[in-house]
Symmetry: C2
Amino acid sequence: MLTVLSVDRAREEIISSLRGWSAKVENVSLKNAPGRVTSGDIFAPETLPPFPRSTMDGFAVCSADTFGASEELPAILSLRGNILMGQKPPGPIFPGEAMSIPTGGMLPVGSDSVAMIEYCELLGNNVAVFRPVAPLENTIQPGDDFKSGDLLFPAGHYLRPQDIGILAAQGIMQLSVIARPQVKIFSTGDEIVPPERQPEPGQVRDVNSYLLASQVQESGGEPVYGGIIPDRQESLSSALEQALEDDVDMVLVSGGSSVGTRDVAIDAINALPGEGVLFHGVAMRPGKPLLYGKSKGKPIFGLSGNPVSAMFGFILFVKPALRLMCGLSPLAPFTPTVEALLLTNIASPGGREDYVRVSLEYACEDKKVKEKGEILWARPVYGGPGLLHTVVQGDGYIVIPRDVEGLDEGSRVKVFLF
Amino acid sequence: MLTVLSVDRAREEIISSLRGWSAKVENVSLKNAPGRVTSGDIFAPETLPPFPRSTMDGFAVCSADTFGASEELPAILSLRGNILMGQKPPGPIFPGEAMSIPTGGMLPVGSDSVAMIEYCELLGNNVAVFRPVAPLENTIQPGDDFKSGDLLFPAGHYLRPQDIGILAAQGIMQLSVIARPQVKIFSTGDEIVPPERQPEPGQVRDVNSYLLASQVQESGGEPVYGGIIPDRQESLSSALEQALEDDVDMVLVSGGSSVGTRDVAIDAINALPGEGVLFHGVAMRPGKPLLYGKSKGKPIFGLSGNPVSAMFGFILFVKPALRLMCGLSPLAPFTPTVEALLLTNIASPGGREDYVRVSLEYACEDKKVKEKGEILWARPVYGGPGLLHTVVQGDGYIVIPRDVEGLDEGSRVKVFLF
């Protein structure tokens, strides 16, 4: 219980404790589906395109008629009519015939390709084609995009704009998605007052409820403000019990950075029915006092009262849990980062993962290494975990592993963007 | 008018045509502020922290009293009382005295530092301190985070969770942000039917309205569905006129991939009061037939009818314009990308920028280069601009410059994630 876990180990424990989570589902209209996650496999009801289409303005032809055509000796075809956008062709064509067709138009029966208008000339009721056309050239054929029955998206797919596009193309106007997990957020501490109130000496405003709610929202959850709870076990216990009875999927409690108040949170979670506290303490900076437990199958996180530690606790532990509860894989498959060079040496205590906030700049006058081209520099933003300006001025963070005691100026670093 | 611009040049033209755009502003509550953009500079009304705070559990002391303290010869201080969370200290301390203090507690007058509880022992009414404490040690002082009058955020700042946190800390419960630009979206084409309708032969469903609306939303704008317009100048002109009279900030028209319909869009935009068409045609693949104009100061984009071309037209041209209208810098300061190795050769026609869709994979059996560790591979997804599966199966895209005719297998590439 009192061993301090590594960041990876702690994250694995959280993820494995939530395997088999059964998410709620809901129906949404296509217009409200962007950014949601599919709750089941979605198969193509239709074949797309449903008919052969032209990808060029020109003439629908039988390709065999054009073989050997040249500037000197064009293929002369007889014009059978004009195909209009959005309409069936006026009839089939037979060898020796052509029909004019616009980009996107439907090919007539008997035609297997389109001669581009640039290589054709209209001569009365005939069309001269000056270049040979290969079978299927300048067309897309039924099923080239999707065939009826194809898997469009597996369950757990995050719907991007192009995915909304294909759903529209398939006429899927309603779909079932994972309901956004409801996350109840409490701040604890006798010194905390709601931000709309003017604090008395010794009091500070509730930052974490707003910071965490904003992170929950960004990660696909729905924040539910639980308010401020005094640092007493019975207050916290009854607040947690109430939250778990409500339709809430996860609880975040921030506060309790001092030894006594941490014990209050541990006792309160252990007093609930169910698994209780699964671990506390992670070898990282900032954010060491992470606490994780479960009751009635629902995850409960105890985050630091320090806003910066709470924020990193969210990024590293709550977000993967929330992704999993949203139906996604807990860790994003491809984490977007930027590469930068370190502007100064960084010392790190070692023994725990160090999350160093940095600001990024392209051209800085005091950089010592002069290099050609645009180079991105990372400048550490120093300050303790209680100081918000380190994350407000920061553009992201770099990770210094447990067994590394610092990084040299000029080192190439991977910056995780905020 | 008929010159084909490079991607960069076209983007510059768009951006410079919108410099000085005067955005609408609105007030939002702090809870609704995440993801919004500040409309003016925001200064700190208060100094934070407002009083000196302890960052540790321990005893507030006068640091000078502890100089030279050791395990053998501790400093013995007289305990003057206990500081409670959220309350003023019960009084000041004088040299030779100490007060117990929790993490986050308010330091008493006369104390300049905190001795950690781990290095102290309570002996009746005295406290033995076994290690010297430096002035300010284990404290944060008023203004360490922000001083009253500090610039918190300049105008045009995108509000992240930590920024919401600092606004809460400052008690700023309402703020003025840039209103989301209203973007009216039209699809043109006689072959287009609403997605809820079953298409007849020759007809296809409207994909682009839904795809583009989803992109608008993702980029901070508010989509307004304008519906489907027939391919005739008078229909398009009157729809555009109506849109510009409404409270709309930008218009997107997709369709008109054939020569005739492109001319319809050009004529319709030129018939409106104001600047008319500023350019059309961009040297890129997919997405060549981009059309840009303005009327009454409002930007109008003509995008390809091909969904993939329309999507890239949005990413490369509409999004920067929308960012600018949202009060942000048009191009994201740090573009998050992932690095990957190319799994196959790619040929590119040259003469225009080529946006090649790729899917990403970590471990692929048919990779020819075996390397240790996790390497990300990019696999091109082939298919014309009319085929949505290239972007649905793709995880992102790579850019092949105009003067490069292809890339070799194994090349290191930068992948822009969808």
